[in-house]
Structures are given as structure tokens and as C-alpha cells.
């Protein structure tokens, strides 16, 4: 019996890496040839990443992970988006969280990368990302904050409640009146031209317009409660904080 079990374990261990190597070697080789070929443009690189991401495996995640911090912004965004499909690969959310924390994605110009990573973490319902996601609920970049709020609602973790309530209180005050430009200078390298110059007479949505509904939706998703204002949420939270348990 013991011999049979150990034989099986040994066989499975043997089955692991060499077989994977054989399977993934040509795929990785082809990806590298396409991605790193001389003169490859973003379109070529994105096509190569799309090709590789069809194969959901740890080895693929390991190959794609460096791109999240080292590639051009469009490639980083596409890579983050594609990793959201790796639901059964444990290393995918880990790599996404690492790249979210990375210095390489911390600047204003990299906001769109952070947004896409937050969306992917939400799709993956990555509980281990809770701390990082909740930190960004009150980010100064409105669209980053919105992506973090949406991710909180999808992942559903109790640690997000207080940052969400804090953000709700803030935008219900004067701070929520600040206008949000739909483009908001987040997109690098796009010449808007005269056609897209914002009309000075046009009223832009405020932070409150953009963030209030997502915050209420996220709080409702986590707590299964429904209130319309920060005051009501505060009252409920004060009563239930100590005994709160996440409902399935």
C-alpha cells in the first residue's frame, strides 16, 4: 500500500515539470520570437501576449509577469487585462498585486495600468489583494479610486468597509464637488486635437457623480445592507462593527 502511494506520488512529481517543459517550450519560444523580434511594435507585442495568454499556466504567468512593470503602457494594460482570465492559476493574482505595489507603476502616467490591475484583481476575487485594494479607495486619481471601489465590491472583504465609508463621507462634503474630466490626462501620447478640447461651457461630472453610486454598490455587496447616505451607513456600522461577519 505504502509502496503504491509513494509510486503514485513519485509518478505525479515526474509528470509535473518535464512534461510541462515539453508542452510549453515551443509556445514560449514562439512568444519570445514574436515579442522580442527586431522592430516589433506595440501591435506585434500585444498580438504575441494575446497568443501566449491563451495557455493558462504558471509558466505563462511567469513569462508575462515582468511585462507588467517593464513593457510599454499599452502592453502592460493588455497583460493585466489578460491575467484576469487566469482564474485557476495561483500566481496570477500574486503577480498582479506585486506589480500594483511596484514603483514602476506608481506614477501619474501609469494610472491606467493601476486601474487595469485593480479591475483584474476584482475579476479574480483575490482576497489576498484586500489590503492593497482598500488603500486605493481614496486615491487622488478619481478613476483609480473608482476601480479600487469596484474591486472591493467584487472581492468582498470586511476590511474595505471603513475606507469606503471614509470615502463616502469625503465626497458627500465639499470635496465631492470637484469636477472630473473624462480624459483626465490619464492617457499618455494622445493628441486630442481641437475636436476633443473640452467645451468650457460644458459642466463636467463631479467626483460625487462618479464615485457615490459605486461606493454604495460596493458597501451593499459586502454588507448586504442598503443605505443612501454616509450618515445612515455610519449609524449602522457603529452598531454592527463588532459583530459583523461576511455573509456568503
Amino acid at each position: 500500500m505504502t509502496l503504491t502511494a509513494s509510486t503514485l506520488i513519485g509518478f505525479l512529481a515526474l509528470l509535473g515539470s518535464p512534461q510541462d517543459d515539453k508542452t510549453f517550450q515551443p509556445i514560449l519560444k514562439k512568444f519570445r520570437e514574436e515579442y522580442y523580434k527586431v522592430g516589433a511594435k506595440d501591435d506585434d507585442k500585444i498580438a504575441a501576449v494575446n497568443y501566449l495568454a491563451q495557455h493558462r499556466h504558471e509558466k505563462v504567468v511567469a513569462e508575462l509577469a515582468p511585462l507588467l512593470t517593464e513593457a510599454s503602457l499599452p502592453v502592460r494594460i493588455i497583460t493585466a487585462r489578460l491575467l484576469s482570465q487566469f482564474t485557476s492559476v495561483d500566481s496570477a493574482p500574486r503577480e498582479l498585486v506585486a506589480s500594483l505595489k511596484s514603483q514602476a507603476n506608481s506614477g501619474k502616467k501609469q494610472s491606467s495600468v493601476r486601474i487595469e490591475i485593480l479591475r483584474s484583481l476584482g475579476v479574480l476575487r483575490c482576497k489576498s489583494a484586500a489590503a492593497e485594494v482598500s488603500k486605493l479607495v481614496d486615491d487622488k486619481e478619481v478613476w483609480v479610486a473608482k476601480a479600487a471601489i469596484d474591486a472591493c465590491g467584487r472581492i468582498r472583504f470586511a476590511e474595505a468597509i471603513e475606507p469606503l465609508l471614509k470615502a463616502l463621507k469625503r465626497i458627500e462634503g465639499i470635496a465631492g464637488d470637484a469636477e472630473v474630466n473624462p480624459l483626465d490626462d490619464l492617457i499618455e501620447g494622445v493628441g486630442r486635437g481641437s475636436l476633443l478640447k473640452p467645451d468650457p461651457n460644458q459642466k463636467r461630472p463631479s467626483e460625487r457623480d462618479v464615485l457615490k453610486a459605486p461606493i454604495l454598490a460596493a458597501l451593499s455587496s459586502i454588507t448586504k445592507q442598503s443605505f443612501a447616505s454616509a450618515k445612515d451607513w455610519d449609524v449602522w456600522w457603529a452598531k454592527n462593527k463588532s459583530s459583523f461577519r461576511m455573509a456568503d
Binding site: 500585444i46 491606467s112 490619464l186 486630442r192 476633443l196 460644458q202
Partner: protein, 527 residues
């Protein structure tokens, strides 16, 4: 003119036109009508291919263009003038041939691909149910572009050169029923081996945006290829003094090297495009989509399944080579199937012998880039398209309606009243592309708009861009927006993102507003 007029002549009158039995006055009146009425001109053209006496002097390619002339054009007056002369010329030719006793030439009857499937119908066409004239509730009355005056005196035979158009170095007209190849030293592949059943399933292909020295040869007729040219399996595309390029049905970019001759056709049942190269070099670029291609050479066939990339096919006398320049494909030779390798040239003879060898691809890729069209149209809609005709860019209007203006149809937004207090009334229109495509770097959307709103948004999927109107109410203006300027909550639209719909929307405090859109195009400009 887009729809058949109520004053269209009777079937008998049109038959009289073809038979030459009309009085000079009736004939003159009918000629004027034909110049302006697409439906009647089309009916006459189709009828003439069935009933007419020998059409040997008539250029087959031009004849098909007359049939296709019912397709609406932006330049209505020019098209009307050209069509008038063509219709007159055709009618004149047929009229004078009427008395000949020659039998109907079989080649006309044998080529159903050139005959439009629609019935010969000189009776009034029912109104398009989608056509709605501008509603005063939805739109503010704006000054319409004045309708161009009817052409009373057509220019002096403006299309006559077309009828005699020949390439500068074209060999002398061959004796009928004798096939004379222009370059006999070069091996000419025999026509593809097809059974009658195969032929019936072969659809002609459409040429879009041809550039360079591209000619279309049909039997003994030859003409420079034009946009929306229709070519069947018997037709040959040829280049003479320089290279040429075109888009095959807005799906594949085709580049022909100088001195090439090639035929294309499409098996609709399996959605396979076929290519038979007589001589020269032809290169294909599937522009990011996966396609099935079959390369024919004598009895040999080579299948590239799921080709997504660039392929070069070159004739070398009694052999032909196919080379995947980049991208991916599955190669099928007879019963053998395998993954095509970039730079692995497959050389095959007409007898079926296949040899593979490694070759350099860079020079061919560089040449492909030189020849390829600098602008690639991924989508184009004028809203004048007709349901019964080939549409290279099929689409459906899912919000708003097609409305008729003096220069053709345009897309008029639906007006939606606010449902809650404090909300604004909104205007929106949307088209859904039947054949979506992926964004590539440098792609732009172009359209014309006419609006009473100070600004409106254009939305593609989740991504949107705002447009600030810079023109007076009622005036048409052109807009061009790079797709990179479209964003969704802080993230830009990126290469490979799908384009499957376009929505135009705006809001207004007023009771009514106007948001009209025309000429929507997606273009990729090569840097």
C-alpha cells in the same frame, strides 16, 4: 436617385428601349430618365445581358459597372452624368445590333456571377420601411444642402475613354476564340479544376480601394480596376508597369508585384478565399483576422487554414512557392496538415510535388510594406447601402433611423424624452457592425455630423470620446478622432480591442434637437 421614381416608365417602354422601337421623342425622354434612375438603368442593363444580340464590342467589365451603377454615390451629379452617357452608349450599341441574326453569346449566359440576383423590375419599388424622413419633433429644421441641378447637357462623352481604355502596352486585340497569353514564356497555370457544382458555389470577390497599376481582365476585355469592382473566378487581376495593391472585400490587403497576374474567388459555403497565380508575386495580409486561403496551381492545392498574418505566393515557371512571412497558419497539403513555419518556403509543382526550404523573409516584408495601401478602410458606411446588394461592410442600424436628405441617406438620432425631473432629453443613434474588427495602432474614426448640440459623445463598446461641435446649427462638418483618444474610466482603447458598434449620443435642455451622422469610416493610416 436612390429609389425608383413614381414616374418610372412601364416595362413595355423599357423593352422598347432595348428593342429600338421607341420614337425619337420617347427615346430622348427615356434616356433622361435612365440617367437619373438607378433601378431602371439596372433593369435595362440586366435585361440587355439576357436578351441582347452579340455584345462583343461591349466591354464586359464596363457592362458590369453599369449594372453596379445603381449603387449610390456621393457624387450624384457626376455619377448621373456618367451613367447617362453609359446608358446611352449601351442602348445605342444594343439598338444597332438588334437586327443581327447572331445567336446569344453563350459566355454571357454562362457567367451568372455578373448578373445581379434581383429581378428585372421596372415596376415601382416599395419604400424602404427603414426610411423615415426627418421628423420635426426629433430635429430642428436646418438648412439642407441644395440639391444639385439636373444635368441637362452631359459633358462631351466624359466616360468615352473608359470604353476604349487599354493599358499602354496591351498586345493587339486577339482574334476571338483564340487565347493569347501576353507572356508565353512564362508558365501559365491552368484554370482551377472545378466542377459545375463548384462553380455555382463560387462567389465573386470585390475590390476595394485599388491603388497602383491594377488591371482587370475578363475574356478579351480589360480595364483599370476601380473601387467596388466585382471579379469572378474567370477574371484576372494584372499589373503591368508597376506594383499595385487593393483591399479584398475589406478583409485582406492584397499586394501585387509588377508583371503579376492572378485570379481570386470566394467559396461562400466554407468561407474560403482562393488564389490562382499565373505569374508574378502576390502578397496577402489578413489584417489581424483569421482566414482560410487556398492556393491553386495546376492540379495542386495548398490550404492555409486560420491564416492570420502575411503570406507571399510567387510563380517560378513550372513551380510556385508559398511563404508565410509572419503571423500564424495551419498548412494543409493533401491529407497532411501541420503548423506553417515563418520563413519556411513551400515550393510545389503543378503535378503536386512539394519541397520545403528555409528562406529569408525580410526583403519580401519590406516590399510588402512598400506596396501596401497607405490607408486601409476597416469600415465604411454612407447609409445609402441597399439590402439587395453586396455590402463590403455589413451593418445594422440599432438606434436612430436612416433619413433621406438631398444628397442621400444619413443617420438621424432618436429623440428620447427625459424620464425623471432634472434629467435632460437625449438624442442617440447606433450602428452595429456585422463584421467587427480589432483596433490597430493609428486607427481613426471619421464621420460627418450636423447637430444643434454644443457637444456629443461617440462611443465604441465601453470606450467613448467627446466631440465639441464647432459649426453652426444645420451645417455639416467633418470629424476625425483617433481611437487612442477613446477612453473608459481612465483606460484608453488599445490595439486588439474589438470594434463592434458605434453610438452617437448627446443631451439637450430643449424640447427638440438634432444629431445627424453620415459617412462613418474606420481607417487605418500606415505611418
Amino acid at each position: 436617385m436612390n429609389t425608383m421614381e413614381k414616374s418610372c416608365p412601364t416595362t413595355e417602354a423599357l423593352a422598347g428601349w432595348l428593342q429600338g422601337t421607341l420614337s425619337p421623342q420617347e427615346r430622348s425622354h427615356l434616356a433622361s430618365h435612365l440617367a437619373a434612375c438607378d433601378e431602371c438603368r439596372r433593369a435595362v442593363a440586366i435585361a440587355s445581358t439576357i436578351d441582347a444580340p452579340p455584345a462583343a464590342p461591349v466591354n464586359e467589365i464596363l457592362l458590369s459597372r453599369v449594372v453596379a451603377a445603381s449603387r449610390p454615390r456621393r457624387l450624384v451629379p457626376l455619377a448621373a452624368a456618367a451613367a447617362a452617357v453609359l446608358a446611352l452608349g449601351l442602348g445605342f450599341t444594343l439598338f444597332h445590333k438588334k437586327d443581327t441574326t447572331s445567336p446569344i453569346p453563350p459566355r454571357v449566359a454562362e457567367r451568372p456571377a455578373y448578373v445581379e440576383p434581383g429581378p428585372v423590375k421596372p415596376v415601382a419599388k416599395p419604400e424602404d420601411p427603414r426610411v423615415v424622413t426627418p421628423s420635426p419633433v426629433a430635429t430642428l429644421p436646418g438648412p439642407e444642402i441644395p440639391k444639385n441641378p439636373t444635368v441637362t447637357e452631359p459633358p462631351k462623352d466624359p466616360v468615352k475613354p473608359l470604353l476604349t481604355e487599354k493599358p499602354p502596352d496591351k498586345p493587339p486585340t486577339p482574334v476571338p476564340e483564340t487565347v493569347v497569353e501576353p507572356k508565353p514564356v512564362v508558365h501559365v497555370a491552368p484554370p482551377p479544376v472545378t466542377t459545375p457544382a463548384d462553380i455555382l458555389s463560387l462567389a465573386p470577390v470585390f475590390v476595394i480601394d485599388p491603388v497602383g497599376d491594377l488591371w482587370l481582365r475578363r475574356d478579351q476585355a480589360e480595364a483599370k480596376a476601380v473601387s467596388l469592382e466585382k471579379a469572378a473566378y474567370k477574371d484576372k487581376f494584372a499589373t503591368r508597369n508597376g506594383g499595385a495593391a487593393f483591399s479584398l472585400e475589406a478583409r485582406t490587403s492584397v499586394m501585387l508585384e509588377k508583371g503579376s497576374e492572378v485570379a481570386f474567388w470566394h467559396a461562400k459555403t466554407d468561407d474560403i478565399y482562393s488564389l490562382a497565380l499565373d505569374h508574378g508575386l502576390v502578397m496577402l495580409d489578413t489584417e489581424g483576422s483569421s482566414q482560410k486561403w487556398q492556393i491553386s496551381f495546376g492540379k495542386s492545392k495548398l490550404d492555409f487554414m486560420n491564416l492570420n498574418g502575411r503570406l507571399a505566393v510567387e510563380s517560378r515557371g513550372d513551380r510556385m512557392s508559398a511563404l508565410l512571412l509572419d503571423g500564424t497558419a495551419e498548412l494543409k497539403i493533401g491529407s497532411m496538415a501541420k503548423k506553417a513555419q515563418i520563413g519556411q518556403e513551400v515550393v510545389f509543382s503543378s503535378e503536386g510535388t512539394v519541397v520545403e526550404q528555409k528562406v529569408e523573409t525580410q526583403k519580401k516584408l519590406a516590399r510588402l510594406d512598400e506596396l501596401r495601401p497607405k490607408v486601409f478602410t476597416a469600415f465604411n458606411s454612407t447609409f445609402d447601402e441597399k439590402n439587395d446588394e453586396f455590402q463590403p461592410y455589413p451593418y445594422a442600424v440599432v438606434a436612430g433611423k436612416r433619413a433621406l436628405g438631398p444628397t442621400g441617406f444619413y443617420l438621424q438620432a432618436d429623440a428620447l424624452a427625459a424620464t425623471k425631473a432634472g434629467e435632460k432629453n437625449s438624442l442617440s443613434s447606433e450602428i452595429h457592425l456585422d463584421r467587427g474588427f480589432g483596433v490597430v495602432t493609428g486607427m481613426v474614426i471619421r464621420f460627418r455630423y450636423r447637430t444643434s448640440l454644443p457637444n456629443f459623445s461617440v462611443k465604441i463598446g465601453n470606450y467613448s470620446a467627446d466631440v465639441s461641435s464647432r459649426v453652426k446649427v444645420g451645417q455639416w462638418n467633418d470629424a476625425e478622432i483617433p481611437l487612442g483618444a477613446f477612453s473608459f474610466e481612465g483606460t484608453p482603447m488599445l490595439p486588439t480591442d474589438p470594434v463592434e458598434n458605434v453610438r452617437f449620443a448627446g443631451s439637450t435642455d430643449k424640447k427638440s434637437g438634432q444629431l445627424d451622422i453620415d459617412g462613418v469610416q474606420f481607417l487605418r493610416r500606415v505611418r
